[in-house]
Amino acid sequence: MSDQHSGTADGTDTSAATASGTEASDTDTASADAATAGAASQPLLRVEDLQKSYGDETVLRGISFDLDKRDVEVIIGPSGSGKSTMLRCVNRLTEFQGGAIYLDGESVMAMNDNDLRRRVGMVFQDINLFAHLTALQNVTLGLRKVRGMGKEAAREKAMDQLDRVGLASQADSYPAELSGGQKQRVGIARALAMDPELLLFDEPTSALDPELVGEVLEVMRDLAEGGMTMLVVTHEMGFARRAASSLMFLDEGRIVERGPPEQLFDDPEHDRTAEFLQRLTTISEEV
């Protein structure tokens, strides 16, 4: 609560970080990710000492991690721990006060918002489909208005994406005519259509009826297997076990623990992690 990260002037802070970040990136990656074979290239996403507050309330208190191409990071943590906020910092839906985020070595602060968001897709808990557009039009909107594609080309590409999430037959349905699970799959297709390098998922299944969760997770598993780089906030532990390359436990704006899912599940370093995972498992078993 009380550790405020004021003082540092944002401009100088960022530029300094950018300079040192690019310089040091090669050696950093080499030392930090010795386990990752052949990690000569820089990580796709690097988050460095990320700090964020809403007014007086500090939400993120120095978060650092790397995410390589094709990695799937699952983030868990209690409500209010800053998971959504962290995701929204990555595509700059919200501004942060300290630290830096690099996408493929380039500071997101230096990038044009709309370019950044074209490269980083997002899937929302409350889905947020465009209610006045059909499933197909939900997917083509970005292609037409952001990527400037022609009508026919956009349609074709959008149909491919809908096909990918198994909804080609529902292309002309409006959101109100789709089930929650179908809506969320359209939401995923909408994000995929922009050919993102990284996909952010913010609790994509928590607003769904339990029987609809499976179809969405299945699409996400397919994506993971297809090599999509994903940052996924979810409490679906089955998905974490099967699809995550790494699991991160966030609490009070800090990373409490991060590692391969088996390690956190079976042999967590911190009691808090064990406790939280214990609670998650009992809850999901009850459901």
């Binding site: 968001r117 947020n128 489909l129 909107l141 970005g142 409006y174 005519e177």
Partner: protein
């Protein structure tokens, strides 16, 4: 699912439910009314203002009924009570016939006035909408400055009488001077242009309020989602929020249209001879106050019902499954 529709249409639909042909009869009457009105306008512009129907015929009818009724009342025989009763109806028919004769005689003048009423209303609504959309967007999504400016405009206009606004621009700012030379046969005086400006300014504020609340009922998450695929905020508003907000605004917009049809009569105070003023002129010449105001009321009613039907049609045309108006917004 197939729940309530907008209020105006519900009322109309319910009114028509009893008789299966109620709606089509209404539409037929409306079509006749507009066909007559349009033909009337064209002939008036072409220089022909005589009534289409013979006034003398209806006057004759009225006199005939009245005379017969008087004869019936004279009768003192056994049938006197019956004839007395029938005479009552004959007097009524006579009144109706003379009302029709009166109407036929003065409808051309009223049609001319109605032209300006329609012009003022349609122009006020249309130009008002053009201003109202950016105004409401500024009000909801603007920064501190644009939001405050929009707020001040809206509250200033809504907080002062329309008549005062018309006076200020017509007498105070003498706005007529800017319109010299643009008046034509269809818009006969510069005052009409000033009135259009006045109604535009006024209607923009009211429409902005309707649209504002409609915009606010579009979930904010959709704009976030639009930005998340790389649309700028303004493009997100344009392609995602406005298409929905404007649909939500249709019922409010219908109200505004109905108000404006009636409020356009205030243009009379700045010398525009629209429907109401042309009626008053006739009253001044004929002293047939009851007849003329009944006729005016019917005329306004026809305009208002037409507007409501039209907006209902628009609402149907742009309806999207599950969006707004039909599901759970009323």
């Amino acid at each position: 699912m197939s729940g309530e529709r907008s209020t105006a249409r519900t009322t109309l639909a319910r009114a028509g439910e009893g008789l299966p042909t109620g709606r089509s009869v209404g539409l037929a009457i409306g079509a006749l009314f507009w066909a007559w009105l349009v033909v009337r306008w064209v002939t008036i512009w072409a220089g022909y203002s005589e009534p289409f129907f013979p006034v003398a015929f209806f006057e004759g009818l009225a006199t005939g009924f009245e005379n017969d009724a008087l004869v019936m009342q004279q009768n003192t025989g056994a049938l006197a009570p019956v004839l007395d009763f029938v005479a009552g109806f004959w007097f009524l028919f006579s009144d109706v016939a003379s009302f029709v004769a009166f109407a036929v005689e003065y409808l051309p003048t009223l049609a001319e006035g109605a032209w300006l009423t329609v012009v003022l209303t349609v122009a006020g609504i249309a130009f008002g909408l053009v201003i109202a959309v950016p105004l409401s967007v500024a009000r909801v999504y603007g920064g501190v400055v644009t939001r405050s400016l929009a707020l001040v405009y809206i509250e200033l206009i809504r907080g002062t009488p329309l008549l005062a606004q018309l006076f200020v621009i017509y007498y105070g700012l003498n706005m007529s001077q800017y319109f010299r030379g643009v008046s034509s046969g269809l818009l006969p005086t510069t005052a009409v242009w000033v009135a259009i400006v006045g109604f535009t300014i006024n209607s923009a504020a009211y429409q902005a309020e309707y649209i504002r609340s409609a915009l606010e009922s579009v979930e904010s998450g959709q704009l976030t989602a639009a930005r998340a695929i790389g649309l700028s905020r303004i493009d997100g508003i344009r392609h995602v929020v406005l298409p929905q907000g404007l649909r939500y605004a249709i019922p409010g917009w219908t109200n505004e249209l109905v108000y404006l049809i009636k409020y356009s009569s205030l243009a009379a105070f700045i010398t525009v001879v629209e429907l109401f003023e042309s009626g008053r002129d006739i009253a001044g010449q004929t002293f047939q106050y009851l007849n003329i105001y009944a006729l005016l009321a019917l005329f306004y009613l026809a305009l208002v019902l037409s507007a409501t039907l039209f907006m209902g049609w628009v609402e149907d045309r742009v309806a999207i499954p599950g969006l707004g108006v039909r599901d759970g917004r009323e």
